[in-house]
């Protein structure tokens, strides 16, 4: 059981301590180990990020330090190029700008925050967190290799070989897409084409004909897979 590292970035101290309490409640209810770090200014959080502090989940106040919450998020997504740290925005009003949306937060909650909202978000996070910590093992020849699931973008079949595409590399492995699909389905890998299996954590946009990944690559959706893709996303929406 691994630790979930959570950062709470809000300039109002009461909110930070309130959140810590609610997360502690959640932790005792479910037995998950949670480490919480509060930050009351964007500067202090930026410093932490620069010191390579990594978090799994960040509760970020949009209005912190005169609306620099969005700058923090942009820094994480665009400059650090990290799509996997989950962000939950806290705001005083329902207004949700397009710029916020482009940072792909896990959720968006409005003050005052209730315990059950926190519980729901934590449950959602847990559902998708397996993808970030678990490993994928594969063999090439007689050697066994291990790679973190979160580093795999997608698998595709080219000339009868299955290629595993990671952030910087491509590895050919001997595994059928069907078996891979069965094994990785619960981590959110989805079969969008007879020849393509994608890690849905990396999907930036869903279109009817294709999906676009965060690195800009567009992967085609096969004709018979349209319904599967829609159902997959539908289930994701239902849980959220």
């Amino acid at each position: 059981m691994c630790v979930i590292r959570i950062a709470i970035v809000d300039d109002i101290l009461e909110i930070c301590s309130c959140m810590e309490k609610m997360l502690a409640n959640y932790s005792s209810k479910t037995g998950e180990t949670i480490e919480v770090e509060p930050y009351t200014s964007s500067e202090s959080f930026f410093k932490a990020l620069k010191n390579d502090e990594a978090f799994d989940l960040i509760f970020l106040d949009i209005e912190i330090d005169e609306k620099s919450g969005i700058d923090i998020a942009n820094h994480i997504r665009n400059i650090m190029d990290d799509e996997l740290q989950q962000i939950v925005y806290i705001s005083g009003k329902m207004e949700y700008s397009i710029r916020l949306h482009e940072t792909h937060p896990l959720d968006f909650i409005i003050k005052p925050i209730q315990q059950n909202t926190v519980d729901k978000i934590m449950n959602r996070y847990l559902k998708i967190s397996g993808r970030f910590t678990d490993n994928f093992t594969y063999t090439i020849g007689s050697d066994k290799f291990k790679i973190k699931l979160k580093d795999i973008l997608y698998f595709d079949v080219y000339n009868h070989t299955t290629d595993m595409h990671t952030k910087n590399d491509m590895v050919s492995i001997h595994e059928s897409l069907k078996n891979l699909e069965k094994e990785l389905k619960r981590y959110g890998f989805i079969r969008i084409h007879r020849k393509i299996l994608v890690n849905s954590a990396y999907i930036k946009e869903y279109h009817y004909e294709n999906v676009v990944l965060y690195n800009g690559e567009a992967l085609e959706i096969g004709k018979t897979y349209h319904n599967d893709v829609t159902s997959f996303k539908l289930d994701l929406f239902r849980e959220g």
């Binding site: 009003k93 329902m94 207004e95 949700y96 700008s97 397009i98 916020l100 949306h101 792909h104 959720d107 968006f108 999907i203 930036k204 946009e205 869903y206 279109h207 009817y208 676009v212 349209h226 319904n227 829609t230 996303k233 539908l234 994701l236 929406f237 239902r238 959220g240």
Partner: protein, 427 residues
């Protein structure tokens, strides 16, 4: 009366009529309109029963004709359709039977003088020829797709259409009286008359189809225009309200500053009162997405009117890549349905709305309480609303829009809660 071979053939032919008449009826009055009660199948027996009866009482031509028409009419009641269509179909079927019978009688005449010398078989040949030909024609007709539409045309047009078979029947009767024409000419004339009638029936069907399309287009255009006006109205209202709220909020904060400085308790009191008043104007949806806010706030007012408790979970940016009208039509219709269902519940009345935009897809989920009465027909929900035609149009509109965005609709229900889900691809 002598029971010759010929008479037997006539009786057989009368019973055979069940087959080609049923095919003709299927073709003209539509297979779908069949009343499936087995009792209705007995109606077919009307034809052989009546025609054999007419045969036995002397085979008088005029009685034969009447009996045929009456029998056809009786059989036609197996199908559901308008009076006009029934008359037209019966008339056409009878006309076809008459013409083909006459043609075959004449053919039989010609054939027999060259091939078969014995006269008793002359008439039998005609009967057989007749039955085969008419059965073939009926099969052809049944396999040709004839439009299902059955709507009212202007009376003048209908009179024109009914006149064609009637005048044709008159022509046939007149022609038969003339003895100076050659067989081949008479046969040609009859076949031409037949073709004209067949073509007029196709024209009739095509006109009905065009008419119905025209009417449904007008109805859809009207509804679209209605929505467009509502759309504009809602957005204007929301803009005004938004500006108004903003204005009042500013005034209040100004006043508050003044009251603190002047230490005027009275001013402070009235400011606090105004503040409370402002916050009690509950703004249900304030996402700054004008389309979403306007439709939700207007429907929220209606929900409050019926004491329905509403909850909103919303995560949409202020601009969505969907045509405002499309979003308004979808949400307007679904919320209308939800309100209509929830307001009649005795216990808990609620509507939970969830609208989320993520990864280029828009998800709308509306849960509402309902009184548990759902009618399902062929896997589709039947409305309990009395004005079912306009309700149908609403669902039609939703379907059309969801298809436009390559989306899906899903409905689920428990005994107390009805859930509607719509997911769309934007961009």
């Amino acid at each position: 009366m002598s029971f010759s071979l010929y008479t037997i053939f006539q009786i057989i032919s009368d019973f055979f009529g069940i087959f080609y008449i049923s095919r003709f009826m299927n073709a003209f009055m539509h297979y779908d309109n069949k009343r499936n009660n087995d009792l209705y199948k007995l109606l077919y027996m009307a034809y052989p029963v009546l025609t054999v009866f007419s045969l036995l009482i002397g085979n008088i031509p005029i009685i034969n004709i009447m009996v045929n028409i009456i029998a056809l009419l009786i059989i036609s009641f197996r199908y559901k359709c308008s009076f006009e269509k029934r008359i037209i179909s019966v008339g056409l079927i009878f006309l076809m039977m008459l013409i083909i019978e006459t043609v075959c009688a004449l053919m039989g005449d010609t054939l027999n003088t060259s091939l078969i010398s014995e006269s008793p078989y002359k008439k039998i040949t005609s009967i057989v020829l007749y039955n085969l030909t008419i059965y073939m024609v009926s099969v052809i007709f049944e396999n040709v797709k004839i439009s299902k539409k059955d709507i009212k045309l202007p009376v003048f047009i209908w009179i024109c259409f009914i006149s064609i078979p009637m005048l044709s029947i008159a022509s046939v009767i007149i022609t038969i009286q003339m003895n100076t024409l050659k067989t081949i000419h008479i046969s040609a004339l009859f076949i031409i008359l037949l073709s004209i009638n067949v073509m007029s029936f196709f024209i009739y069907d095509s006109i009905i189809e065009t008419y119905e399309e025209k009417i449904s287009n007008i109805a859809l255009k009207e509804e679209k225009e209605h929505y467009r006006k509502q759309c504009i109205y809602m957005q204007e209202t929301e803009k005004e309200l938004s500006a108004f709220r903003h204005d009042i909020a500013n005034q209040i904060s100004l006043l508050k500053q003044m009251s603190i400085r002047d230490n005027g308790n009275k001013i402070d009191e009235s400011v606090s009162y105004l503040e409370k008043k402002l916050s009690s104007v509950v703004i249900f949806s304030n996402t700054q997405n004008l389309v979403v806010d306007s439709i939700l706030n207007i429907k929220y007012a209606e929900m409050k009117k019926y004491d329905i408790s509403a909850e909103l979970q919303c995560r949409v940016p202020c601009k969505l890549n969907i045509e405002p009208m499309d979003l308004m039509v979808i949400m307007g219709n679904i919320l209308d349905n939800a309100i209509r269902a929830a307001k009649n519940v005795e216990s808990e009345k609620f509507i939970h709305i969830k609208i989320v935009f993520e990864n280029g897809m828009l998800y709308i989920n509306i849960e509402n309480s309902y009184s548990g009465k759902l009618l399902v027909d062929d896997g589709r929900f039947i409305t309990t609303k009395s004005d079912s035609s306009s309700h149908g149009l609403g669902l039609q509109n939703i379907k059309r829009i969801v298809r436009k965005y390559h989306g899906t609709t899903k409905f689920n229900y428990t005994s107390e809660v009805f859930t509607s889900e719509i997911i769309l691809y934007l961009r």
